[in-house]
């Protein structure tokens, strides 16, 4: 069995096969200020009175925080009220991005089935959890019943051989893979990442990998729990059987992989950074559920230490969570970044989705550590977004043009 099949089989108490429809009990559900208001409405229309288990539900204010206007402020009020009535934990403004908070607070654990009303919910596959994104009505039904109907997906296996070079990170690897598999190449399927390169990764890097399965159309993305380090103990080892069935197997040798950049306007438009090196940038951004964690801020700080970004370039950082921000504050990372000229935003989605802060101007070019660069993604259809690793973003901020950190030194 694949990891997905093992997790789902355990949940329904019988051996599942791809294509089968199951009603699966869930270990957790989550909705954000983008999706929760509609889900609360649907929950009430369904005649819902009590959520199935308040301890397994979470509401998070992260997409537009602090509220930029009256309409969104009132949606936040609606969520706080619902959470209070139901006894659900509500993570209020500044706690962080939904996916980061769910992992940090151990709402999701290895082997869980987790449903989130956000398309990047597959991120939790970094902990060997089966997690997928749904719409508001589905979320309402799951909050009410504690279960969801699911079609057991076929799985794609991605095997990477070799080791990444020093300046090449998980983000470069996943950008490369999205470029290969394409934006719809894994639609409906679960992706399993196989090989030591993934199993040796930190939790943060694993999350960067599974985060971007959404950019391949996948339903879920999982890395085996072998080598996974968490600050609590977990028993079950979720690894695929040697004879597990995959609908497709992709193998890559990644030993000579260079820094990767996704050029406008799709995350699968990936090229070696040398192809677009020299492109002038106005704005650099580090944050999001893809790359806003401590190791990402540290990678940027390492590039920027002792330097100052030039006038004419602005550099925004939105830490993925309050914990990330405090850790970065306590170990001096934040000091280095601010000394270099970065502006620090409230932990949360920040400029990622263009709902409020940090919208680029007309004809401006952004280099971003986020996961999506569709036209208009950051709120202005007349701007261009290039996606890269945090180190490449920091180096580019310093140079005022796209550059790989290894070139910066020479």
């Amino acid at each position: 069995m694949t990891i997905t099949e093992k997790i789902l089989s355990k949940h329904i108490g019988e051996h599942v096969r791809p294509g089968q429809l199951i009603i699966c009990p869930v270990d957790g559900v989550m909705a954000t200020d983008t999706t929760a208001p509609l889900a609360i409405k649907a929950f009430e229309s369904m005649g819902g009175t009590k959520v199935f288990d308040p301890k397994k539900c979470a509401l998070i204010l992260d997409h537009a925080v602090p509220a930029p206007n009256e309409r969104i402020a009132n949606l936040h009020v609606m969520m706080r009220q619902f959470a209070k009535e139901q006894g659900i934990e509500l993570f209020d403004i500044g706690e962080g991005i939904c996916h980061q908070v769910m992992v940090e607070q151990a709402y999701v654990k290895p082997g869980h089935v987790f449903i989130g009303a956000d398309s990047h919910t597959p991120t939790y596959g970094a902990l060997s959890a089966f997690a997928c994104g749904v719409g508001s009505t589905d979320l309402a039904a799951t909050m009410m019943t504690g279960s969801i109907w699911l079609k057991v997906p076929e799985s794609i296996k991605i095997i990477c051989h070799g080791q990444l070079q020093d300046s090449v990170t998980a983000k470069d690897l996943i950008l490369f893979l999205v470029g290969k598999i394409t934006i719809s190449g894994a639609t409906y399927k679960a992706i399993e990442f196989n090989g030591e390169v993934f199993e040796n990764m930190t939790l943060a890097s694993r999350m960067t990998i599974t985060n971007m399965v959404a950019e391949m159309g996948a339903k879920a993305g999982l890395i085996s729990s072998r080598g996974l380090k968490l600050d609590y103990s977990f028993d079950d080892i979720y690894i695929p059987d040697a004879n597990a069935n995959y609908s497709e197997v992709y193998e890559f040798d990644i030993s000579s992989l260079e820094n990767q950049i996704a050029i406008p306007e799709s995350p699968d438009n990936t090229v070696n950074s040398s192809v677009v090196a020299g492109t002038k940038i106005d704005y650099a951004f580090i944050g999001t559920c893809c790359n806003g964690r401590l190791e990402d801020l540290q990678a940027a700080a390492e590039v920027l230490k002792g330097h100052r970004i030039p006038k004419g370039v602005r550099f925004l950082i939105a830490p993925a969570s309050k914990k990330t921000m405090m850790d970065a504050m306590n170990n001096g990372t934040l000091q280095t970044l601010m000394d270099a000229g970065a502006a620090i935003l409230t932990p949360g989605c920040g400029p990622c989705v263009g709902t409020h802060q940090g919208v680029p101007g007309n004809n401006e070019t952004v280099i971003s550590a986020a996961n999506r660069n569709f036209r208009g993604r950051m709120g202005n259809p007349n701007s261009n977004i290039y996606l890269a690793s945090p180190a490449v973003v920091a180096a580019s901020a310093l140079a005022g043009e796209i550059i790989s950190p290894s070139k910066l030194k020479s």
Binding site: I12, G19, Q20, L21, I22, I23, A42, S45, M46, G47, G48, S119, G133, V134, G135, S136, T137, D138, A140, A141, M144, T145, S147, W149, K151, S184, T187, Y188, G217, K219
Partner: protein
Amino acid sequence: MTLHIYGDNIDTDRIIPGKYTKTLDISSLAAHVLEDLDPEFKEKVQPGDILVAGKNFGCGSSREQAPIALKQAGIKTVIAEDFARIFFRNAINIGLPIIEIGPHNIKTDSAIEIDLAQGHVMDTTYNKLYQGTQLPQIMMDILSADGLVNYLRTHQKFKVENQV
């Protein structure tokens, strides 16, 4: 009953452009359904018509307004080679019957009979039977309740005895 036939990868933006989706008045969606793909569709479509598509129908965003718009326009069933996953879920959840039949050669002059419970489509004009994916009982139940909101209002939970 007319068949409206389209190709592969019809995305949710082409089913209902994002700019029309921010409304709670769902009946307004029908006026813009498929307008960037086939501007005449909304004039041609009659209640009870069938939409036939190729691969990956409904790819793109997670907007529930896409199947709602088709349903509001009068589409009774969508037949496709296959569907994008969130569209598939949303269609069942809002009570729009859909059927996946794999590669097909249905033409505008095909006379078709759909058996949702058996998961097949018969093209009587060309005498061809397409055996597709059978919807399990739970999904048939959600569809006959006209969607998940009504289903749960009645049952309060998924009826587990229907588990496949």
